[in-house]
Symmetry: D2
């Protein structure tokens, strides 16, 4: 017997704004999702936009888009586009979200939601006003081991959470010779608290409860950087920040983000300590989750390392045989797989309301740094 593929899958047409690292990661996610997941729709990479014609044209060719444009508004306005996926720097998000929502498009927006709290509020208002599906790019929730961590906490297996800690250490800003670019421009790239910290805050609130007060400090060790033209520009972005957290539930937390840690590329760790157990996730071993349970025989005192690839684990059955492991890309495949599986009725999670919530916590941290005191998180 011979024939065409089973099923007729409805296309869902996607326009991606931005063709940098995130544009590539998203394109990968949409492309691989149908192979990995059993979906009833087929994502189509309809269009991609970017400011530089040569660059975006090349990206469109390589990443498999049907078309490209240097004007993101064209994508927003195209009738055939279902989802607008925003992969540009944070400072541009709100304007694009507003336009896309206004055009009735579903919106996927990379994190942080915006470079300011006011902008984040406007972005959320836009999707709510227009009633469009929306999602914020906290992709790490979709790593199998992180999803398992959430599942175990939610099951009550480790009891009530008492303590949370998260850190993200990299060396990307360590060298003073790195030229000034948009990442060092607070209005465009947002703070390190917002850029890296937003992922950690999202995981903290997802795993524990809302954060209700913070106290933070920030440091910038290289206060000025040269632009390509040689002009020195003052850096107003924090390179390293740390914060004490109080959760509504009564739990306490510690958060650290730093981009001046030599030979640490992207070492993000999250730990929760509950009344009945501990869970530890370390990104450098992203297919594993450590669990210590008070209920376990004391003779076996210690933690177990769960290989978070068992078919019973979140997402694992979609991927490879246990032990083979997934990488960073899987977080996008799983994320977009979930969004497409819920198309067109939703719900989508996390949504821009979560993005705003996280932004409030990050904003409170930034204010705490400026005012050198504890700040309550409002809203």
């Amino acid at each position: 017997m011979t024939g065409p593929p089973a099923g007729t899958r409805r296309p869902v047409r996607i326009g991606v704004i931005g063709y940098g690292a995130m544009g590539k990661a998203h394109a990968y996610g949409y492309t691989a999702a149908p192979v990995i997941r059993a979906l009833s729709v087929t994502p189509v990479l309809a269009a991609i936009s970017g400011r530089h014609a040569a660059g975006v044209e090349a990206a469109a060719g390589k990443l498999g888009f049907e078309s490209w444009t240097t004007d993101w508004r064209e994508i927003v306005e195209r009738r055939d586009i279902d989802i607008v996926d925003i992969c540009t720097p944070p400072g541009t998000h709100t304007e694009i979200v507003e336009a896309a929502a206004g055009a009735g498009k579903a919106v996927v927006c990379e994190k942080p939601l915006a470079a300011s709290l006011a902008d984040a509020e406007s972005a959320l208002a836009a999707v709510e006003r227009n009633g469009v599906l929306n999602a914020i790019g906290f992709n790490y929730r979709r790593l199998p081991a992180v999803a398992l961590m959430h599942e175990i906490v939610a099951s009550g297996e480790i009891g009530e959470v008492l303590l949370w800690r998260g850190s993200w250490l990299s060396d990307e800003f360590l060298d003073p010779a790195i030229a000034f670019d948009w990442r060092f421009d607070r209005e465009m790239g947002a703070t390190t608290i917002a850029d890296l910290g937003s992922h950690l805050v999202d995981l903290a609130e997802w795993l524990v409860s809302p954060v209700d007060a913070v106290c933070a400090q920030s440091a910038t060790f290289t206060n000025a950087r040269s632009q390509p033209d040689g002009e020195s520009v003052r850096v107003r972005v924090d390179e390293a920040s740390s914060a004490l957290l109080r959760f509504e539930s009564g739990a306490r937390g510690v958060l650290e983000v730093a981009r001046t840690c030599a030979r640490r590329p992207c070492d993000f760790t999250v730990e929760v300590n509950g009344t009945r157990g501990t869970l530890v996730f370390d990104y450098s071993r992203l297919n594993e989750l450590r669990l210590g349970r008070v209920a376990d025989d004391e003779h076996l005192y210690g933690m177990r390392t769960i290989r978070a690839e068992h078919p019973s684990h979140p997402y694992a059955a979609d991927w490879w045989a246990i032990g083979q492991g997934v990488g960073y890309g899987a977080s996008f495949v799983n994320f977009f797989g979930d969004l497409l599986a819920a198309w067109p009725d939703g719900p989508w999670a996390p949504d821009l309301a979560v993005g705003l919530r996280v932004q409030r916590v990050c904003d409170a941290m930034e204010r705490s740094v400026g005012e050198r005191r504890w700040i309550d998180v409002v809203g």
Copy 2:
């Protein structure tokens, strides 16, 4: 500005034989390769075959093939197919290779090349006789850290290799209640020496030199298993084997493969000790490579853990920012990316000659088990 994607990429049309775990992994590799790699051709999933119509039809739909068939010969005979990619059990490989090569197709064949040395010789003869491009699925060579390991050994940085050791531990055959299936059928699934050991032997010969003598032992702890119909069948496949190796270079080695190791899913490790350094790869940390160099200051005695994701490392610049990590799937993306980059002129590596060479070593191990003595590897 607006336009179509840059470049016109010639399609390379692929027919995959088999829709099991390997068929899926290969489909993933062909699908993701263009997003990750800068290719001048576009792989097209033209057809997939399998014995069960419903299954292959569903797989074709999910994995994105244009068509399916229950008769693999149809794929081999189709004019529009450029590459025949064989993902069926080892015992079927040779017949398909012969037909595909005979039809002038380029051949990709999963490992082990065959379930017997005679079949493997026939398979190689077929591709050589027909002068077609051919490759054997030793995908682990394309993990970035393994490729880096090879690069460092080849550079001479660790000196002359003295010792090699490799082991592959899993628990997939531990439970006596697991039903008899083709994996336990020696003529269809081949031995554990061939199935798991072939990967290790390939890495051993790639990293060190040809193996010229082996001495091996095998054990099967569950000697009979029930078929779905309840009939008990004798198992003639080894569950656990180990071997001493002598290399032509004078180096020595130890190899172990076992499928009866509780709670080990796929823990494969390879280490080489040279006159000037040591390299250790552990699959459970697949983005890392450990290196200890005699030349390093003794005050820093120990090994360093290389995060094998630096842009200067093999394949790394194609993927994500350092620290983010890739998974099992990357080995296929990198493998097929390399094959497509060399289309249509080649060379392709490793080819079926490598597959035969590895088969000779595995065959010598199997004979050594039977004859309970050292066996020279001939050919």
Copy 3:
């Protein structure tokens, strides 16, 4: 040839106050030091004191003391005692230090120096007034890997320190059923900030620079515990605290101590990030130190794991062949070895002035918790 041992070693007679876990660890340290170190004096365990006659009598027998008493003042007053070593709860330290210093004895005092800043000041004043040698029990400085960490930082090899982080996680207070004892009595056992945190603060200031401002939070999840007689007592000791640190040098830090982390027995980690490198110490691998250097070839990106047992490393030549490893006890052997090697002229380090300095930082943290604001460290 036959004869008596080489050399005549002068005895140094030691009186230990307290026979609990610390009394045992100190007795071990004095006993093993001469075997491990080449000393010109011989420590003699002259006397031990404790409140319970049967207990201290048994301890004296087991630990090898010449005599015991239930009255620590007897030890302080004995003419034949050279060193008074104080291993009692923190709330008792000052009175004993004052008496011992007043009697002209050299003083070794366990950490934290006292249960209050005022007491700590009195203790230091006493040893200074009497001009006696004195040392505070920050034994972790003497773990080989920690000493190596200090040596590398001090050498300038990792450049100027930008960030420091330290955490100490245990589960010793997690179970609400644990009875109230002196550890939960703030005036006797001191806070967790002081008990565990003092070790971390000492390492922070030793590795970086004085801490000049702190902001801290504390939590006590089990607010009342039962005494053996069943009476419920309010717990005023923090179970989990965290703090932001600012160093005089401009570096920043984060510190966490917690005793409510399930299945973490004593997992203390310290990391410093400098302009040219990173150093990481993890107590659970106490014979190792991780180092990442910016100067190393980028192709080898990552950190190396130094086996801190090379003969060129601090203390290592005194112990075993490389790779064999030492344990907790070695910190005491090395500590007392250093003190005895400097007998009777000194200097001893760290001394009670360091103890007071650390107490000031811990006290500032405690005040910060109470006042919910940043507190400058004065003095």
Copy 4:
């Protein structure tokens, strides 16, 4: 109240033959044992011997011996000596064992028992003929985590053992410039199979069952070394050996010992795979034991890391609080603690019969290398 130590402990007087690394380790063990263990006897370091007067005199002083001699026979003949503890090179063991046993002394002998099977047989015959207590220095059995490993295997918790693997990797012979000394003299230092391998064989037989057949290979990469006088001497000791093992129980094993592994100081690992679980010990994390159990919920798939310091674990209650860790020295403290606790009636374990048994396996390996075939272990 004031008084002398509790209890009157009978002295057990010990004479140590040899003052090298082992002499020091044994002296440390005897010295620290009473502090750590509750013993009813007190070990006294009565005498130590060595060939060089200045060296042994200094060692006696440092290690705390009452006397020294350059003639080991004096120690054997002294009336006041209870235990003769032999820490000299393997080639000298038998003569000393015979003399000590003949003098009615209890004998502790370092491993391997001898440098030849015939000598080992003579040594065992001597202690049996004279009916003296005797023990062989397989000290690693007394590491808490190794003792726990044995306890768990013996309890049946991991079921019937199917596979065993052990390896010991070091770099001590890697550099061809290392001068010839007794370690390279096969008749004095024994082979690497015997020196390092004997520890592994002991653990294999202790954990699994007697080994009944072996097949081994050996390599020596530096075939000649210079003596201090410049003369080149042929090296007849193996630098790297590996072996396949068959156990009487039907289990299979793989063993490797190598002294040419760059930047591996002493990395010894042992793993057993049973029908119901896996246990892994890695010396570089000597306070931990990994356990994976088939009976554990599949949702928690993986292995747990037991911190082998819980009071319920072997030896742990004698030492420090959980998490603090012990080192190499603890194996001697625990070993001699056990021997002294059984003084004077015994039994002592492992005894010289175990030492001979291990020697038979090592000898079979050496013969297998020479004859290039499987060798049955006899006796």
